[in-house]
Amino acid sequence: MSLLRLTNISRVFGKLVALQNVELEMEEGRLYAVIGPNGAGKTTLFNLISGFFPATSGEIWFDGRQINRVPAANRVALGLVRTFQITEVFPELSVFENVRIGVEAEARCSTRPWPGRALIRQINQRVEELLETTGLSAQAGRIVSELAHGDQRVVEVTMALSRRPKLLLLDEPTAGMGQEETAHMVRLIRDLHVRQQQSILFIEHDMDLVFGIADRITVLNYGKVLATGTPRDVAADPLVQAAYLGEASA
């Protein structure tokens, strides 16, 4: 059984068809990339999967359930957690506090007005564990808005991980990063994939990066799937070559 399956998904904005009859199937444990030029509909695809807005038509299946009508916050509880192309964090809170929000939500105790000591200890421990995983321990006390851009994006990923996602959705995790920051993020994604068998669906612009780490790729172009398959298949696809060479020479 596949973890995520999109059947015949379309999304229309007024006259603009942002996605048209998109099919996508992802198995558990994959590191799956969605690529395509600007405006291809990649973020729109994430918005549909995460419940930011509904699909115009088609079905979204996750973990054996049709989730078209499940509200965004409930999809998180099902195991679908995303990050955003433009970093979304809690800017005026510390790194620790940012991650703690997610940990408390995951522990289903966000409604607790007076938690016990044991619960607090458990929560703090989990936060520290997560910061360790993503290499943020040294920054735990710092205010997120004062961090470097790359670290802010790592904070967002850490927050997403706090919900123990079955599927982690990363929208251009390396967007706007320098070489070193990119390398750090790539290492993190790889580690999650290899060590924790974390299923990850990510959008990425950098071709070398995608072909270097992804085990499945879907190429979107003008809202349609141009090609899908292993990196090798996709690289060899004449349509993809035409589109990317065409773009490069334009």
Binding site: A72, A73, L93, S110
Partner: protein, 314 residues
């Protein structure tokens, strides 16, 4: 961390010893009680405003309802001042709880508008329903009764009433403080910081806005109950949108991001109201308005915001 302990200690010490030092600087106990009453209401409001990020402009509704609840309870049902306070608190809190679903989906200016609208409904009801609320003349004819403590009967004169108010203020402030350090409070702050991020961490933002709104209503109801006892009188003015605006001004003036901000704001507001209005009875509000504009433009984080920045720089 330790600085916070000193600040809290100093605040409570000053509040507890007010009867000793206030007369020395020309103040009087009824004024101090009024400061505490409004500070409590503004702190409740600030849970919404400063910590959940919801621009409520109708908090006077629950403040006023608390007052009417207490006044009507004393008029018709009991002579127990404490029970009357509890009744008023419940009335204010219940109203906020029931209207919560109406406001929880709105954001920004729409949140402000719906909260004002609801507040005005209560204002008009209180103003028109002469037989029950006393109409626009307000509700008089009740008065705070001596406290029966078992071993003694304490009449609530100005000094005793101040400590009576301080007792409930401490409960209210304590509840807010505990809340802000709990997962529930963390979640309120997360919503203020970034609703979208909160939602996509699986937080049902609206339910928390509802909770925050209801809790603010409970605190406003409690403050309103104390206000009715302070004046032995309650009138539709206490429900009017201007009163809501006053509470917002107090929170913003003192500092919305600080726990004690609304208290500082209330001291300034009520102080100016008292001193300036004795010289300029008709335009003391201009003073407040001017001060408010200056604060918003130059010190967006309120007076405590400046203090904090200074301390950081030092």
């Amino acid at each position: 961390m330790s600085r916070r302990i000193y600040v809290n200690g100093a605040v409570w010490l000053l509040l507890l010893t007010a009867a000793l030092w206030l007369p020395l600087i020309g103040g009087y106990m009824a004024l101090a009680s009024r400061v505490l009453v409004y500070a409590l209401a503004a702190m409740g409001l600030n849970l919404l405003l400063g910590f959940t990020g919801c621009m409520s402009f109708g908090e006077a509704a629950y403040f006023g309802l608390g007052g009417y609840g207490t006044g009507l309870f004393l008029t018709h049902l009991t002579h127990s001042t404490v029970l009357a306070v509890i009744a008023g608190t419940i009335v204010g809190g219940l109203a906020a709880f029931l209207f919560g679903p109406l406001v929880m989906r709105r954001r920004g200016i729409y949140f402000a508008m719906i909260t004002v609208a609801i507040g005005q409904i209560f204002y008009f009801i209180a103003e028109r329903w002469n037989s029950f609320t006393g109409g626009e003349d307000g509700l008089a004819g009740f008065s705070r009764q001596p406290l029966h403590l078992g071993f003694a009967i304490v009449p609530l004169d100005a000094v005793a009433f101040y400590y009576f108010v301080l007792f409930f203020f401490a409960i209210g402030a304590g509840v807010i403080a505990l809340l802000l350090h709990s997962p529930l409070g963390h979640t309120f702050i997360a919503i203020r910081e970034n609703r979208r991020r909160a939602q996509f961490l699986g937080i049902h933002v609206e339910r928390y806005v509802w909770a925050s709104f209801a809790i603010a209503g409970v605190i406003a109801g409690l403050a309103g109950a104390l206000n009715a006892l302070q004046n032995n009188f309650i009138s539709p003015i206490n429900l009017y949108w201007v009163e809501s605006g006053n509470l917002v001004i107090m929170a913003v003036l003192g500092g919305m991001r600080s726990f004690w901000g609304p208290l500082v704001g209330a001291i300034i507001f009520v102080g100016i109201q008292d001193y300036v209005s004795s010289y300029f009875p008709n335009n003391w509000e201009t003073f407040i308005g001017g001060l408010f504009i200056v604060a918003v433009i130059f010190f967006p984080n309120g007076i405590l915001g400046i203090v904090r920045r200074r301390m950081k720089a030092a």
